[in-house]
Amino acid sequence: MSSILDVARIKRDFPIFQAEMRGGKRLVFLDSGATSQKPIQVMDAEREFYSKHNAAVHRGSYYLAEQASEAYEGARARVAAFLDVSAEEVIFTKSATESLNLLAVSFERSTGMLGINAGDEIVVSELEHHANLLPWQQLAKRTGAVLKWFEMNPDGSLDLSDIDRVITPRCKVVAITHLSNVLGSVPDIAPIIAAAHAVGAVFVLDGCQSVPHQPIDIATLDIDFLVFSGHKALGPTGIGVLWGRAQLLEQMEPYLYGGSMIETVTMTGATWASAPKKFEAGVPNMAQAVGLAAGLEYLSEVGLPSIHNWEMQLTDHAIRGLNSIEGVKVIGPQGIENRGGVISFVIAGLHPHDVGQVMDQYGVAVRTGHHCAWPLIRKLGLAGTTRASFYLYNEMADVDVFLESVIGARDYFGKR
């Protein structure tokens, strides 16, 4: 079957799989939803930058500075190609968290259509990661705007029955996740985007859990802004992306002030460069941009459709396995429709922290707790979940060890 990845070959590119876990166990890494592992190609791209092209971009006319600028702007062009957008619309940030805070603060400082004022409405959902809730919640508090949200159904979908009450003509911004980082559920965003645009609001998509895992088509989605983190997409830590429509970026006030984002400066005032420079003050995270471009290239070479397909096969196997274990309950979507390769589950009577601890003994790395989406967990009436998330370097055998470790966790406490 063509969609089965050559995982053995892929794994050889990731040095971390040679590391030994507790008790000499091999690593079964099921926490790519938190951060991905890095292929040697990404590490090499950064090293090559530091070894051959390192200089401050945009600020020198000497040879190395030209090389550095070419490397950095080349990385931007490659990210733009990956997203199928124009390079001037791609802003490098330090993380998705920064991308979202940038938007919230820039809207606070902007006037006109994008400006946020008292009485304006901002819409999120109960599915959101803290990074896509708190910047908006605090923006609302600072400006007197009103934060509204779509409620979550128990299966991890959004309740759109009251969409007209949630998105009203006062709405300025709607910010929703593309894929829940807790449940793996995929909210039905098309009607939300349409409703947002119908009232003249902009739509921000949190693509942290989708962009690294599946092909996405910005034009078809008809969104206005997209954010994601490099470190979840095989890239280095310390790099994130904000994509925005050119004509919106043009209207936006800067977020960070400093070098390289200016047009003119006096002691009493300043004017700004155009995007993307307007949003990239200071010597930028050059090596990380280059590394991220290498990571996205790796993903493109393997092929996002194949990666997605493979992840869903792993997910299918894992869900079936979990459902066959007595005392274990999958939280969120029960099948592989409308979901990605992220699975939350609980074991009756056990706290996720204890579950994860036993699984660790098997070399299995899963995350436990509220996954930075505390309102979602509270809504489900849980103290937390245990979460497994898959990526291109996971083998079917990883799922088997995973299931074995879940049984092990249940029995470790059950027997005693």
Binding site: R22, G23, H351, P352, H353, D354, Q357, V358, Q361, T368, G369, H370, W374, I377, A383, G384, Y412, F413, R416
Partner: protein
């Protein structure tokens, strides 16, 4: 199995049947959370004649945090503030020892069973949650800890 050094029998016993757990009724109630995992504890106590009294706590959390709360409550209840201070200091040190200390049973009693936690850095906060709540409550009740 390394895990058994973490999950000692006495810990699981306390976890299954926690002591001093109930509805805190004191006037001063402290509420502490572990933001990493969402575990919570509410605790109240009284200090009478220099001794820790009426310590009651409630909360949700993993076996380590629940057992630690139960063990801590047993340990400090009825003790003088000075004794509690010493236990708190020794327990904190034990938790930060990364497995290098065993703990003094004279002072820490059942709490030495938590020594294994110090080898699992991510769990140290679970074990300390109730102790920090206790410290906070005692200070708010006028103790010098």
């Amino acid at each position: 199995m390394e895990l058994d050094s973490l999950y000692q029998e006495v810990i699981l016993d306390h976890y299954k049947k926690p002591h001093h757990k109930g509805l805190p009724t004191g006037e001063i109630q402290v509420h502490h959370v572990n933001p990493n995992c969402g575990d919570e504890i509410t605790l109240s106590l009284a200090i009478k004649e220099g001794k820790i009294q009426d310590l009651v706590w409630d909360g949700v959390g993993c076996s380590i945090s629940q057992a630690s709360a139960s063990i801590m409550s047993d340990l400090v209840s009825g003790k003088s503030v000075a004794e509690a201070r010493e236990a708190l200091a020794q327990f904190t040190e034990l938790m930060q020892s990364k497995g290098s200390l065993k703990g003094d049973e004279e002072v820490l009693e059942d709490a030495i069973a938590l020594a294994g936690v110090s080898k699992f850095p991510a769990r140290v906060k679970c074990a300390l949650l109730s102790w920090m709540a206790f410290k906070d409550a005692a200070i708010q009740n006028g103790a010098i800890l």
